[in-house]
């Protein structure tokens, strides 16, 4: 592959572009503009299928959903039953202790499980990237947990984390630990138990993505680094990590979105308990909507969730600018 020195090639092309057009074109009513080497509508053509589907299937329901946040509605009474109440839901929300508490729990839950899962996923991907016997089998084994449905996974983990007879506590006891955690029976340990479960379920899944990204990395950089005598740690910090910045950004944002939305497992396993210790914002939304039939308030909670995640993603996005390998 021929590598042009960037400056020269660019200069050439600029020169071409600013050269005067041949006379023929001046007879046309609209001279065809070529932006960046293509017609203006070309990128839009590429984006259009996604755009159409996003508008129809995300934006439109989203707008309807958001509008509901300004109403009082129980869905069952149909469209006649919608009552516009403006910002009342939001006023109530700000004074609702359960809202603040559940938001805090969401932050704790996602804030611990996302970095931990990603770290483990990266370590696994690095380890699985090296040729070794049984690598395929290993990859499958780590990926499997993400495939299991909530009921099956929940039932299994209940058994494993049984405070008296579960494997984990038995092991901890054998290692000499006193005051074993109560896991799902304790208000302090239920959320950590969920974090543990989510690491198990997510690390392999993330390692698949990281593996693909690692295999995308240019080998020549590594080769030249090794020639220069860089050790594995240095190679990691100067090449691998920066190269993974786009993927890591993507994962932080999407994982955070995912963790702050999921409630199916909580609904089956703990129903928000014991007490309120696992009532995260998404579960609270579920309770308000599906148990109390207050869909207006639930939608308002959803709007707050959206704002929170959006702000966070924006922050992550700004942070990762100009830190990658290619920027």
């Amino acid at each position: 592959m021929v590598k042009d020195a960037p400056g020269e090639a660019g200069a050439d092309r600029t020169a071409v572009r600013t050269a005067p057009r041949p006379r023929r074109d001046q007879h046309r009513r609209e001279p065809k503009k070529l932006v960046n080497g293509m017609r203006w509508w070309v990128p839009w053509a590429f984006v259009s299928p996604t755009l159409v589907f996003v508008i129809l299937l995300l934006v439109v329901p989203l707008v309807s959903g958001l509008l509901i946040a300004f109403t009082k509605w129980n869905v069952v009474s149909g469209l006649r039953g919608i009552r516009w109440i403006g910002l009342d839901n939001f006023a109530e929300l700000l004074g609702d202790a359960k809202f603040w508490e559940s938001t805090l729990r969401t932050v704790l839950y996602a804030g611990t499980s996302v970095p931990l899962t990603m770290a483990l996923g990266l370590v696994l991907a690095l380890a699985l990237n090296r040729p070794q016997p049984g690598r395929t089998a290993l990859r499958v084994m780590f990926f499997l947990p993400s495939l299991v449905n909530a009921i099956a996974a929940g039932s299994v983990w209940l058994l494993l984390l049984n405070p008296d007879s579960g494997v984990l506590n038995q092991t901890l006891q054998a290692l000499g630990m006193q005051n074993l955690p109560g896991w799902f029976t304790s208000q302090q340990w239920a959320l950590p138990a969920l974090v543990l479960m989510s690491i198990w379920g997510g690390a392999g899944y993330l390692s698949v993505i990281y593996l693909a990204a690692l295999q995308d990395m240019p080998q020549e950089l590594y080769e030249s680094a090794m020639i220069d005598g860089a050790g594995p740690l240095r190679r990691f910090t100067t090449i691998t990590w920066p190269g993974l910045v786009p993927v890591t950004t993507f994962l932080v944002i999407t994982q955070f979105i995912g963790k702050s939305q999921g409630f199916g497992l909580i609904a089956y396993l703990t129903s928000g308990g014991p007490g309120e210790s696992t009532t995260v914002l998404s579960y609270y939304m579920y309770e308000v909507g599906f148990q109390q039939y207050r869909f207006g308030y639930a939608a308002a909670l959803g709007v707050m969730s959206l704002i929170g995640v959006f702000v966070l993603s924006l922050a992550v996005w700004k942070l990762q600018k100009n830190r990658g390998l290619y920027t």
């Binding site: 932006v35 996604t50 959903g65 499997l144 495939l147 099956a152 995308d216």
Partner: protein, 294 residues
């Protein structure tokens, strides 16, 4: 007999030998640790498999019985050949999943390419809007989507499960990140040569994306195979049930679960995913060999 003169061993620096031995040891123990962790990860599955072969009453016995006694093969028979066997659900899920993968891969690589490699006005704003829409909690969309699909007559069809995935912001995001880190010179050179954008995309950049596409295919498979919320809301005819919905048959209307059957169903539903994973992951392993593209 004269003693054969053994040639002296070549002078190898002892330090190098030691380092190599350490490396090999590190390598070996690293591998061993990996296997131990992998087996720990597998423990829940071993329990699931073991439970799927038990009678309901034995499933939750404490202390945990790892070897089922007696072994109840009947659970699998019921799941597969019983009055409403799961075979139909597997077909439905398979149909949905294949179409979702093909459709989504196509649509998101197009959009990801545009966002990642092409420059056009409004692209950042548009992308942020995309991203924002995906941050909405899914529950907010359930009722409006239900009404929408009712309106367009796709309620209770498998298409109602396929189409929403074509609005995949996750996939678009992933492909965008991938294409953004691909070298631009190739495209620019090709444009100079007069190649159409479509050709550049199809013949130059898309083949390079094979590893990430394979990864995404696996993830789409995983998400759609286990999607429960979508079918729960959109499907009502039992003949159109997908696998996760089918598993709910083992839960009665008062919330009690037939544990053995539910586990047999769950284990059965894992098999296709494992197979697909094996196939696809080998694929992106192979394409690693395409060093020449870089």
């Amino acid at each position: 007999m004269t003693a054969t003169l053994t040639p002296e061993r070549p002078a190898v620096h002892p330090e190098l030998v030691r380092r190599r031995r350490r490396q090999r040891l590190g390598y070996f123990s690293g591998g061993a640790v990996l296997w131990v962790v992998a087996l720990v990860f597998m423990v829940p599955f071993l329990w699931m498999i073991s439970s799927s072969l038990k009678r309901d009453i034995d499933v939750f016995s404490i202390p945990v019985q790892w070897i089922p006694n007696p072994v109840e093969w009947g659970n699998y028979l019921t799941v597969w050949t019983g009055p409403k066997s799961m075979a139909r659900y597997f077909l439905n899920s398979g149909f949905v999943v294949v179409l979702r993968i093909i459709g989504e891969l196509f649509v998101v690589s197009l959009a990801g390419y545009a966002f990642g490699q092409l420059r056009f006005k409004g692209q950042n704003v548009l992308f942020l809007v995309f991203l924002a829409t995906s941050m909405v909690p899914g529950q907010l969309l359930l009722v409006p989507r239900f009404m929408f699909f009712r309106q367009i007559g796709l309620y209770d069809t498998l298409w109602a499960l396929i189409l929403p995935s074509l609005a995949s912001v996750f996939g678009t995001f992933l492909m965008r990140q991938h294409f953004a880190s691909a070298p631009r010179e190739l495209g620019e050179a090709a444009r100079l040569d007069g190649a159409s954008e479509w050709r550049i995309f199809w013949s130059v950049y898309l083949p390079m994306a094979r590893p990430i596409l394979a990864a995404l295919a696996i993830l789409i498979f995983d998400a759609s195979w286990n999607d429960f919320e979508g079918p729960l809301i959109m499907i009502s005819s039992e003949s159109k049930y997908t696998v996760p919905l089918g598993l709910t048959r083992f839960m009665a209307e008062d919330g009690t679960v037939s544990a053995g059957l539910a586990m047999a169903g769950s284990v059965s539903s894992l098999v296709p995913v494992i197979v697909i994973f094996f196939i696809f992951q080998r694929h992106f392993l192979q394409s690693m060999a395409r060093v020449g593209l870089r």
